[in-house]
Symmetry: C2
Subunit: 437 residues, 2 copies
C-alpha cells in the first residue's frame, strides 16, 4: 500500500492495513468505514476512509484515534499493467484522466481497494468499454476538479493534442464535475479540433448502486466515435439511466449540486442525445463542426491573471481598485439583470479602462444575454469601456478573457475577440425558448 | 418640467420641451426619440430620451448636439395629487415604490410624459387597480435596483412596517427586477409580518405592448389581499399573460435577463398561482405562514460589511486575506459543486476563522444543497470552520449573513442563525424534484 511516514505509523499502531474496517475518533466525531489505499504521491498526514454510505472521505491523522474493527479481504486483482491486444477492426479512442469522482474510485466495481486512477484502472473497472473501441488510457492529472487551474487546462489540452496527433479517432476526458464546464470552455478555445473531444465525469462514485460513471463513460466513447468535431460534455440527460446529453463545451453549466442530470445547456439545446451506441441530433437549428481531416490547432497561450467578480448590493468600488492595483490583466463582472452593477463602481471601472484593463460584463441571471443599451446604467457602463459578453455564460466569458489576453495584449483586439464567436459561445440571435430545459 | 441648470439650457438652446421629438448626436452616434421628464432630484447633466423601440435611456449632455424634429403634444393630464375617496367596502392596500421599470415609466399608459414615480402616478396609470382595493401609494426610493444596498433595505422595511402599523390589509412593493430577490430575502429576515408583503416589478416598461407591469401589479394586489403572511415575489409565471407566480422571498431568483417569467423558485415550488383575482395553492407540501393578528416585528439591525465572493479556477487566497485585512465582518463564498473551493484558499479561510470572521459556503450550481461531508475538500473546509449554507441560495445566504451579524457578534450564534431556518430559506429535506421548473 502507498501509506508511508506518519500515516503508515498511525495505521501500524493499530495493526490496520488497507481494506480493514476501522473506527476513527477525532474531535468527538467518530467515523466507521474501510481504509482505502491512497495515491502514490499523497502526503503522509491523511488517510482515506470509505464510509458505509459509499462515500470516500479524507481524514487528517492529527489528534485522531484509530480502532481496528475487522480485518478486510485482500484486493483480488493484481495491479500490473494490462496488455490488451489491439483489435484492428475497432476504432482507437483515448481516455485522458484528470481525476474526479469518475476516475478516483472507478476500480471499486472490481472490488479492489485502490482509489488512485492509473491508465489501466479504468479498463479494469469497465472492461465492457473494450467491446466498443480500442481504449488507450492516459492519466494527465489526478486532482479534484475544484483545484483545477489555467495551467492544468494547458497541460490537458496538450495531452489531447498529442493523442490527436498520434492518430486516435476521438478523445474522452475524465474530469471532476465541479469545474468541468470551466475546463470544457477552456479546451474549446485552446483546441481547434478535427474530431470529438468529450468531457465526462460522475456525480456518484462507481461503487454506489446509483453511479452514473459507467454509462457516462460508455456514452462518451460513443460520442468520441461520432462525426461531431467539438469540445463537448457528455453526462446524464435525466435522473435515471435512460440516456446522456452531448452539450457544447462553451454553453454548458453544472446546475445542481447532486442530481446526475446536473449539466445543462444554457441558451441553447444540447447538440445530441446519446443512447445505446446511437447519436440523435436534437435540434436542426443547432450547428456544429463536422469531423474533418484537418490538423489539431493548439492555441495554448493564456493569461491567468484575470479576476471573476460577482456584483452584489453594497459591493465596494475598492474591490475593483484592489484588482487593478494587484496587476490583474482583466476583470469579468457577473452583473445583475441585463448586465448592470451599482453605479458606485463606475469610476473604478473607468480607471480600469484608462489603464487598458478589459472589463467584461456578464449576467448572474445565467440565461438570456447582456444588453447594456436598454437602461441608463448600462449606457454608462458602455461609456466606461465595459465590454458586453452577449449571451455568453459568466464562466465561459471568464475563461475566454484568460484566453483572449493570451492571444494579444492590445485592448482593442481583446475587445474584438471577446465579442466575436470563436467556439459557439456567442449566438447571433438569442432564442428565448431555451430557458430551464 | 424638472430639467434645470445645464440640461435646461441645453434643451432651451434648440427650443425643445418635454414631449418633443429630437435627434441627439454624441460621439458619432445619433439617437432619435422623445424627451421625457426627469425625476425632481435628478442632476442637470443628463436627459432622458424615449427611443422608438420603447426603451428609455439616460444621455449625458456633455459633447452632445440636439436637433428638434417635431414639437410634441402637451401631457393631457394634470399632475395634481389625486383625491380619491376611500371606499369603505374595499380593503386597504399600500403600494410602496422603490423605483425600477414598473414604477419609473408607469404613467406612460396615460400618455403623460412624466417618468418619475410619485405616490399617485401609479394610480393614474393603473386606475383599474382601484376596483380591487383602496390603494395608498408611497414612494420610498426612486432608484434603479442595481443601486440597491443594505441601508435601503432597512428604509424599505421600516416603511412597510409603518404601513402595517397603520392598519393596511396588505403591502405591495414596486421594485426593479435586477436585485428584487436580494431585497425580498432581506425583507424576509428583517420583517416578521402578520400579512402579505408582495414585491413586484416589470421586465418591460408600461408603454411597450408587451409590458408585464399592469398584470404584475394587479396580481400583486390580489396576493396582498390573500391569507399568505410571507414576504413574496409576484411576477409572470409564463412568457404570456396567463398568470403570475407567488414565490417565497428567500427561495427566488432572477434567472433570465429578459423573459417576463424570469423569477423562479429554486429547490421548491412557487407557493401559489395568481390569476384573475384568485389564489391557487400549487403544492400541498409547501408550507407558509397564515395571516394573523400579531404585530409586525422589525429586526432591522444589519452589518453591511459582508463580502460575496465567487470561487473560480485560479482564484487567489490573497482575495480572502484582502477582505480580512479590510475589516470585513463576514464572507459568503459561492463555491463549486457540493460546496468546494480550491484547496489553496484553505489557509486563508482558517485565518478568517481564527479572527472570528464567519465564512459561509454556498454553491454556484444554485440548485441542490451544500454538503461538505462527501469529499475531502469539503471535510477540510468544515475543519477550517466554514459554515454550510445547506440548500440556501447564494444570494439569500449573503443577505442572511448581513442580517445575522446585525443580530449578534458572537461567532457561535452567527453560525447557529445561519444554519437554522428563519424565513423558509432552509428546508429540512431537499427535494430533488424542483429542478429547472
Amino acid at each position: 500500500m502507498s501509506y508511508r511516514g506518519d500515516s503508515k505509523s498511525f495505521l501500524d499502531s493499530a495493526g490496520v492495513s488497507t481494506g480493514d474496517s476501522v473506527k476513527i475518533i477525532k474531535k468527538d466525531i467518530s467515523y466507521e468505514g474501510i481504509i482505502l489505499d491512497r495515491a502514490e504521491d499523497a502526503d503522509d498526514k491523511h488517510l482515506v476512509l470509505k464510509l458505509d454510505n459509499g462515500y470516500n472521505i479524507g481524514l487528517g491523522i492529527h489528534d485522531a484515534e484509530i480502532i481496528l474493527l475487522k480485518k478486510g479481504e485482500k484486493p483480488k486483482i493484481e495491479l500490473k499493467p494490462l496488455n490488451i491486444e489491439k483489435d484492428s477492426k475497432k476504432i482507437d479512442i483515448s481516455i485522458i484522466s484528470t481525476g474526479g469522482t469518475v476516475a478516483s474510485i472507478i476500480d471499486y466495481k472490481t472490488g479492489a481497494v485502490h482509489p488512485a486512477f492509473t491508465a489501466d484502472d479504468l479498463l479494469r473497472a469497465n472492461p465492457e468499454l473494450l467491446e466498443h473501441a480500442n481504449i488507450k488510457g492516459k492519466a494527465v492529472l489526478n486532482i479534484l476538479s475544484e483545484n483545477m487551474k489555467p495551467e492544468y487546462w494547458i497541460k490537458s489540452a496538450r495531452s489531447i493534442a498529442d493523442e490527436i496527433n498520434d492518430g486516435v479517432y476521438g478523445v474522452v476526458v475524465a474530469h471532476g464535475t465541479d469545474t468541468m464546464h470551466y475546463t470544457s470552455a477552456a479546451l474549446s478555445f485552446i483546441l481547434d479540433t478535427p474530431l470529438p473531444v468529450v468531457l465526462t465525469g460522475a456525480q456518484r462514485s462507481s461503487d454506489r448502486p446509483s453511479s452514473d460513471a459507467y454509462l457516462n463513460l460508455l456514452n462518451s466513447v460513443t460520442a468520441a466515435k461520432s462525426e461531431i468535431a467539438e469540445v463537448m460534455v457528455c453526462m446524464h440527460g435525466t435522473e435515471n439511466d435512460s440516456y446522456c446529453n452531448l452539450l457544447l463545451g462553451t454553453k454548458v453549466r453544472k446546475m445542481h449540486t447532486s442530481r446526475r442530470d446536473t449539466f445543462r445547456s444554457i441558451n441553447t439545446s444540447p447538440i445530441a442525445r446519446v443512447h445505446k451506441g446511437n447519436i440523435q441530433i436534437l435540434d436542426k437549428e443547432i450547428t456544429y463542426k463536422k469531423r474533418n481531416d484537418g490538423e489539431v490547432k493548439l492555441r495554448d497561450s493564456l493569461e491567468p491573471n484575470v479576476a471573476f467578480i460577482k456584483s452584489y448590493p453594497g459591493i465596494s468600488e475598492e474591490l475593483i481598485d484592489y484588482h487593478i492595483d494587484k496587476g490583474y490583466k482583466g476583470i469579468v463582472l457577473e452583473g445583475t439583470g441585463l448586465g448592470h452593477c451599482p453605479e458606485d463602481l463606475i469610476p473604478s471601472l473607468e480607471r480600469a479602462y484608462g489603464e487598458k484593463i478589459p472589463v467584461v460584463m456578464t449576467s448572474q441571471c445565467l440565461y438570456g444575454a447582456v444588453n447594456m443599451h436598454v437602461y441608463s446604467t448600462g449606457r454608462r457602463l458602455i461609456s466606461a469601456g465595459v465590454i458586453s459578453a452577449g449571451d455568453m455564460l459568466p464562466e465561459t466569458a471568464f475563461v475566454k478573457l484568460i484566453w483572449a489576453l493570451g492571444q494579444t495584449d492590445k485592448l482593442s483586439e481583446v475587445k474584438n475577440i471577446m465579442q466575436r464567436n470563436i467556439a459557439g459561445e456567442i449566438q447571433d440571435k438569442l432564442s428565448l425558448k431555451y430557458f430551464l430545459v
